[in-house]
């Protein structure tokens, strides 16, 4: 009973201290850009009402989910294809490396040309930025599938979907998840950036509106909301990853114990 309590205390202590320091240091602040934390927290419930959550946070999250899902599917599918054939990989590698090296936010102006400034543009921007880490990590993962296992599967006559699902994708999945994790943070960046450029709703749009109107405490609450959203998505990702890769983490723990 004592251990978990102690761990909780350790986990909470520093955040509490930091918030207290922020509170105390900003209490008498008259700097317009650093309003007292008290003011920010008091503004929070006024700004982020249920209406605003529905009107601004929900559209942002839906666009992120759509773009991310497209990137995940396309990235894994293409990556499996490219990774499975040595020749294809050699042909595609320089082009893929170049496309990956383009900083994703610069795609916003280009994609605006094609897709206008609607939801479509944001989803395409998010998908086209997130797809590279997934794609290249899948290629790496598929390439590294144990050749002995591939031979074994062949001699047992395991082919087609079964081979893909139970052998190739499964042994590549730790790598694929590493790519998906990188893609998530890129996706959040692109969600915000695309809304800062051209939008009529969304978290990024709202925060910039506050900043332009010099509603500084409101802007701070927006930054807090983005922080919370980033944190929640990362926790969610960890939960999914832990479930899907449970076999892998178990295997690693076992080999570590035995060695």
């Amino acid at each position: 009973m004592r251990r978990p309590l102690l761990r909780l205390a350790f986990a909470v202590a520093l955040p509490v201290v930091l918030v207290a320091v922020w509170w105390a240091a900003s209490e008498g602040s008259s700097d317009p850009f650093w309003p007292p934390l008290r003011t920010i927290l008091k503004t929070f419930p006024d700004v982020w009402t249920a209406d605003r959550l529905r009107a601004d946070v929900l559209p942002s999250v839906l666009r992120l989910a759509a773009g991310y899902a497209i990137a995940a599917v396309v990235g894994v599918a293409l990556g499996t294809f490219v990774g499975s054939y040595r020749r294809v990989r050699a042909v595609c590698e320089p082009v893929l490396e170049f496309l990956r090296a383009i900083p994703p936010p610069v795609l916003v102006p280009v994609i605006m040309l094609f897709a206008g400034i609607g939801d479509m543009m944001k989803i395409v921007v998010i998908a086209s930025g997130c797809v590279w880490p997934v794609l290249l990590n899948t290629v790496e993962g598929v390439r590294a599938v144990d050749p002995v296992m591939l031979e074994t599967a062949r001699s047992y006559g395991i082919t087609g979907v079964g081979r893909l699902r139970d052998l190739v994708l499964r042994s590549a999945s730790p790598q694929i998840f590493a790519g998906l994790r990188q893609a998530l943070s890129i996706g959040i960046i692109l969600m915000v950036i695309s809304e800062m450029f051209a939008a009529s709703d969304g978290i990024g749009f709202t925060i910039v509106q506050f900043q332009r109107g010099f509603a500084v405490p409101d802007m701070w609450t927006g930054i807090l909301v983005l922080g919370l959203l980033g944190f929640l998505l990362s926790v969610l990702f960890q939960l999914v990853e832990r479930r899907v890769l449970a076999w892998y983490h178990g295997l690693r723990a076992a080999t570590r114990r035995s060695s």
């Binding site: 050699a90 590698e93 383009i102 936010p105 102006p109 094609f114 990024g204 900043q211 922080g227």
Partner: protein
């Protein structure tokens, strides 16, 4: 084998460029939105002969380099300190887990208010984003130290500093270098993003101007430059990593095995 792969890669690149030339020429997409490769190339040549382009490139590189240097210095120092003091490790874990996923672009409005379009705006974003990459990798690296080696060093009477130098640092270095490589790429993304969104001088700002003035081939040319820059940063970071870890198994193993 290597030569064949390089040839195939070059063929892939050529095919990619040819496709970029043919698709708009055949009016499969609107040429106004997607100029053929040759027009992008001539816009690129035009950019390269422009002095303003080079000073923008210089601005971007300066923001990137200073930001990366601060992030690496702070990340390694904080990482080693946190990792070797158990009390700090336990108390900071939750805070790090909470702060790390906060998207750095959330700070854009704050940077605009505080510093406007100065270099400091760019640095704020770059340092925040790349600091975590280095810190987390350093923490992993220090935790990976073999307890037997650590105990051996202790029983031979090595002091704290000697143990950090000869036991901890060699173990952590591969992780730190991974962190630096990731941070280098992230720093470039954030430097160009900050210029694009805030208007601080640099490549990103030139991209924003090209977009606003509907100079589509120039827009593509600048994006190609941004991609090449990213490529140079990636290759450069890998080279530095390989040099710094030339003694390490993971690098030596490639040749020996």
């Amino acid at each position: 084998m290597r030569g064949v792969n390089a040839a195939l890669g070059a063929a892939g690149l050529a095919a990619f460029l040819a496709l970029g030339e043919a698709v708009p020429r055949l009016s499969l997409v609107k040429e106004a939105y997607f100029p053929p490769s040759s027009r992008v190339a001539s816009a690129l040549a035009h950019e390269v002969s422009d002095g303003a382009f080079w000073s923008a490139l210089g601005d971007t590189l300066v923001g990137w380099a200073i930001g990366l240097a601060i992030a690496v210095g702070a990340g390694v120092a904080a990482g080693v300190l946190i990792a070797i003091v158990p009390f700090l490790r336990e108390t900071t874990a939750s805070t790090i887990e909470f702060l790390r996923p906060i998207p750095s672009v959330a700070l854009i409005p704050l940077a605009v208010l505080l510093y406007g379009t100065q270099l400091r705006s760019v640095l704020l974003l770059v340092v925040y984003a790349s600091f975590w990459q280095v810190l987390i990798q350093t923490l992993y690296g220090v935790q990976d130290v073999d307890p037997v080696a650590e105990e051996t060093a202790r029983s031979y009477g090595l002091g704290t500093w000697a143990r950090v130098r000869h036991v901890l640092w060699p173990t952590a270095l591969p992780y730190v270098m991974t962190g630096v490589r990731l941070a280098a790429a992230v720093a470039l993304i954030l430097a160009i993003t900050a210029e694009l969104a805030i208007g601080a001088p640099g490549l990103g700002q030139r991209i924003a101007v090209a977009q606003a003035s509907q100079a589509v081939p120039e827009l593509y040319a600048l994006i190609v430059v941004a991609g090449l820059l990213g490529l140079v940063v990636n290759v450069g970071a890998r080279t530095v990593e390989r040099r710094a870890l030339a003694w390490h198994q993971s690098v030596r193993g490639e040749v020996a095995v």
